[in-house]
Amino acid sequence: MEGKERPVPVPTSITRRYWDSVNAEALAIPKCGDCGAVHFYPHALCPNCMSPNLGYVPVSGNGTIYSYTIIRSPQPAFKGMEPYAVVNVELDEGVRIMANVRTDDVEKVRIGVRVKMIYEQSTDDLKIPQFVLA
């Protein structure tokens, strides 16, 4: 976190299926096969009923900004990118996800604004979800 290099996600036994869906540009979220609850980020058990019977359902990539901040004094790895938007996006499928909104005008990043998911190459073999204004 304090270093000069941007942190890169490393999939785990719990999250690999999610990252596979991101790399396939078809992001899917965990949904409980027993109680039907969706959640994010991916857990090994349903946070609602603790069932291990989790499936993955694809999302539309459409969502609404639930909250945001515009980073003006970043940590070293993100120096030079400021100002940039960090957002809490509520996907239409009922979970929230953190990402950036890629835009030239961060002033347009506000609560209630509609956004659309894009996929950004993080490393040669890993993509991460991001958003643009819809």
């Binding site: 976190m1 942190p7 890169v8 980020y41 946070p47 909250s67 901040t69 940590q75 960090v86």
Partner: protein, 383 residues
């Protein structure tokens, strides 16, 4: 709650930025300071409890290493790992061990050295947060501030008043690191980290250590004529965990605050001092609401209307809080109970509250993924 869990005395080491001192150097100073302050001999201490620290290197043997560093052979040993809530929680855990008969005299010793050994976040944070550069906790709290502003009202003026009130208290506290007077203009001129959070809303890391002695009421009354009692206590963790769409402006203090006060038999109007964990000024806006001093969304109006100075109606973080005193990593949560105890013993010096009988003290730990903080610890201390 009865008066069976007591604090016999305390010690706060003068914090320092980039001290270069080993974490056990700080822990040793804190431990011996508390023993000197109470006259408790090493042989009498039969319990030791410390905090998992940012500067601990993530050691799974932390309390063992602490006992070894202090040359102690306790009969009860524990390390608390609930972030900034750990020190207040450690007082309660020590008290529970005493009431259970596992120990009678517990050294609660906290230290951390975050400015010389910054530690990387581990686990899901790298996968789901850090790749987006949220600038650490300031950015995460920025998400909370902006949502609060959207749902209720702009908390900016309240945050400014909190920062200025606490700085004024720090001016009166020789142990505080940030003692330069702060004006409203200074606050609004301080740089924005992430929209919603200015530099003067944030804590500053430092190295430090604090400790106190928890013992039975009977033993405390032998050791000191100014024992302080833990009379109410409650914790809430991972608030609203099963909800995929939580209200990020609500915290676990809505559960633990009223419970702790009820246990002590106190109403909000009875509270003589509020010493709430302050990693960010907005945390106090949320805390006064969720602890029940006012309704949700009315924190800014409550703060505007209330004299929060040490001579006011609800004295707030009378030592300057962590924001003006400095935050010695995960031992910083001890700043609040130590200041409360100092005031209850009439040792507040130039910032002494007139004759306080009780204090509401809190601890906060961690920020969950796109939620509010994880841990909300509330305690009532009384003379």
């Amino acid at each position: 709650m009865d008066r069976e869990i007591a604090i016999a005395g305390y010690y706060e080491a003068p914090s320092k930025r980039k001290s270069g001192r080993d974490i056990f150097d700080w822990l040793s100073e804190a431990a011996s300071g508390a023993m000197r302050a109470t006259g408790v001999e090493k042989a009498e201490i039969d319990g030791l409890i410390t905090n998992a620290a940012l500067g601990s290197g993530g050691s799974p043997f932390w309390s063992i290493l602490a006992a070894e560093a202090l040359g102690m052979s306790p009969g009860w040993l524990e390390s608390v790992d609930i972030g900034g809530g750990s020190p207040v929680a450690a007082i309660a855990r020590a008290g529970a061990a005493i009431k259970a008969g596992f120990a009678e005299t517990v050294l609660v010793a906290m230290a951390d050295v975050p400015t010389i050994e910054p530690k990387k976040q581990v686990g899901y944070r790298v996968e789901f947060e850090e790749a987006y550069g949220p600038a650490g906790p300031p950015g995460l709290f920025g998400l909370i501030v902006n949502r609060y502003k959207h749902q209720y009202t702009d908390p900016g003026e309240a945050m400014c008043k909190i920062a200025m009130t606490q700085r004024r208290h720090a001016e009166l506290n020789p142990l505080a690191l940030l003692r330069t007077p702060m004006t409203r203009e200074d606050y609004y001129a301080s740089k924005i980290i992430g929209e919603g959070i200015r530099l003067l809303d944030c804590v500053m890391h430092c190295d430090g250590g604090l400790a106190l002695i928890v013992t039975s009421g009977k033993r405390a009354r032998q050791l000191t004529d100014k024992p302080v009692y833990l009379t109410g206590y409650s914790e809430s963790h991972n608030f609203d965990a099963a909800n995929p769409l939580p209200d990020v402006t609500k915290t676990g203090f809505s559960i633990s605050g009223p419970k702790a006060l009820a246990m002590a038999g106190l109403r909000h109007d009875d509270v003589d001092q509020l010493q709430p964990y302050d990693d960010f000024t907005v945390a106090l806006v949320l805390a006064v609401e969720d602890l029940g001093f006012c309704a949700k969304g009315e924190g800014p109006a409550f703060i505007a209307a209330t004299d929060l100075s040490h001579l006011g109606k609800l004295p707030l973080n009378t030592g300057g809080g962590q924001i003006s005193a400095g935050q010695p990593g995960l031992s910083a949560g001890m700043i609040q109970p130590v200041e409360a105890i100092r005031q209850l013993r009439g040792e507040g010096g130039d910032r002494q509250i007139p004759n306080p009988k009780n204090a509401l003290v809190t601890g906060i730990g961690y920020v969950n993924y796109l939620r509010n903080w994880n841990t909300s610890v509330a305690a009532v201390l009384e003379v």
